[in-house]
Amino acid sequence: MFTFLLKRLVQATIVMLVISLVAFAVKDNLGDPLRELTGQSVSEAERQKMRTEMGLNDPFVVQYKRFLINAVQGDFGTSYTFNRPALEVILDRLVATLELVFAATLIIIGLSIPLGVYCAINPKHGFSKLVMAISSIGISIPVFLTAILLMYVFSIELGWLPAYGRGETANWLGWESGFFTLDGLAHLILPAFALASIMLPLFIRLVRSEMIEQLSSEYVKFAYAKGLPQRRVWYLHALKNTLLPVLTVGGVQIGTMVAYTILTEKVFQWPGTGFLFLDSIQRTDTPVITAYVIVVGLIFVITNTIVDLLYGLINPTVNLTAKG
């Protein structure tokens, strides 16, 4: 276990280095930050002066070296638009993104397990066919379309839910969130459903196919033969084993969902990291762009490591050291 973690750490460092190099290399092709910083009538000489002050005229290697030295100390540069450390800006916004991901996860878990199990138990039932049909359609509709449709129906036509933003937040045990106010919850519903719509069909299908597989396995047949009641076999024996692979696959998917919030956040003007990232690209706020890519890269690396560890815990036959 320890060797595995150590190996992982070395690998992660290399991966992060590569990510930082790529993130840093693309920044020069994203455009000129001075354009967004200055008004139209500022002279070219004045702009050049600013570029020099900001160190943008230095050779790539010098800039990258400076960036690395600072990054190791946790300084990813100062955002041009926020005038604050880029990492601080991202971490501030990460709370909103995690809140959205958490809400979407609740929806996914709450819907996919009952629906998936139902479809597995009653594969021929009309309702099961409907669920499968809708999830096929759902998987092929892009999220921004779902989001706009939801907004059109529930906020413009019915007027039930707000169309944009995060709403009021309250603090509970140091967690500042919209979960604790009615207004915050109302603002959460539409974006959370839109975000959940990306993964929900996948999860329903996953639960369904795992459950079907379990139901046709030897131990289930044996349980029936032993005379156990049907419900006990379904919900205790089969479901438990169904959820194991769902947990591992699901873990990765939900971890990576942090990076998939971009479109949902854009449509609902949700003040999270995805929205911040898009906005920063438009404003050529390169420190934020670079820091975001690195933070998201880190989240991927961490979720993958945790899932590998979980695998080991759930199934002790997996040899972590060899895997690492």
Binding site: Q40, V42, E44, T78, P162, A163, R166, F268
Partner: protein, 518 residues
Amino acid sequence: MKYGLTKIAGALLAAGFAFNTAAADITIAYPSDPISMDIHEQLSGGMMQLSHMTFDPLVRWTQDLQFEGRLAEKWERIDPLTVRFTLRKGVKFHSGNDFTANDIAWTLDRLKTSTDYKGLFEAFASAKVIDDYTIDLVTTEPYPLLLPMATYIFAMDSKFYTGVDENNKDKSAIIKFGNTFASNNMSGTGPFKVKSREQGIKWEFERFDGYWDKQSPGNVDNLTLVAIKEDATRVAALLSGDVDMISPVAPNDHKRVKQNNKLELVTLPGTRIITFQMNQKSNPALQDVRVRQAIVHAINNEGIVKKIMKDFATVASQQSPQGYLGHTPELEVRYDLKRAKQLMKEAGYENGFKLSMIAPSDRYINDAKIAQATASMLAKIGIKVDLKTMPKAQYWPEFDKCAADMLMIGWHSDTEDSANFTEFLTMTRDEKTGMGQYNCGYYSNAKVDKLVNDANTETDTTKRAAMLKEVETILHNEAAFVPLHWQNLSWGANKKLNMKPVINVMEFPYLGDLVVAE
């Protein structure tokens, strides 16, 4: 309990038991919010809106582009270089300090150190304080644009911004990419104070109790400014009643806002001209005035306005919009395909030629679509266009290199004056004076240069107008650039907001004067 009471009040209001108070709370959505609390950090639409809410200028523009006094009660030109302003008495800053002539002098000095403003205020010498409520603004040469520039002089609280902050940094420092005292603290004389702000999300303002302008009919107590970038979301927020006012409204959504009986759509002809420049340096064919005229004649800009802009623009034949000094009504829109073909033939390009074109895809309304339409129009006179469109972040570095034969650029005159267009877009490029900074057409005409330079020191309005009109006429006759249209401006709002009296072509409604009906 307080929350519960507001809920009950809200329910009563909704049920029609409106309280008879003059106060109102509103929410406004723009695509982006101001980037700082320091109004001298950047010259942009968002910052101008913030300035007019929290500060007051010496004078401000009226809807018909005349001047009305704000912090200045009256003004007169006492000699060719000097205008004397008499200032309003009894004006207080948000900090409680009294406003005096020293604050204006201090503000002007600070403007001259700001990257974004120093160019515009180059003509100004330091101000001369005569007494607490009299100040002379002096220019180095006779300067006709002194009053337009005075609309940018928003008095800052010199006592508040003098000294050092807790980090031992100068409070008056202007830094575009760093934290300063002025970018986080504010004291102006304006109708609103900043209550809180979450940058990139929302700003909350409250009315300033001690506001000097008791005549102002404005009754907005609390104003929230939110940023909603996506056009569709902004309109959705207005339609669902989440916000009370938005700007701009995308042309495709005009009908929906108009059809809603609770909402009102207001549009104004704007002053931002959209043009194509024809690069004479990269493509020698464009040095021939007949070829340039042929291109202008081949582009159906009326069609572009009708079909692509859905009539949400004004067809242009020159740089200066109506109401500007140089606007020349005699200049006509030139679309004429037959004439264009004939001109190509006369110039010896009967079989056409190839040219490259670049345009941004997210800077102006429908910019990429306009460029595509233009390319297909030019194909009709045998010009094969190699078009590249790109996001503005990538576009401007390309534009700075003048990296194509035809380049799209839009321009809004910061001085609301005709000469500004020519200075930046069509005068001969000059590194030293900064003239022709965006002239990628490399058009150069000594007469135009002289006329604009002379106009910039001519304080007689009639003479000056004649010069600027002559400039427009020469540019028109020599087809120095392709004029397309002026973008219109749009606001959508709840009908209880009496918007029409406060909006203007500069795109910063005077929200302090906004009246909201109960």
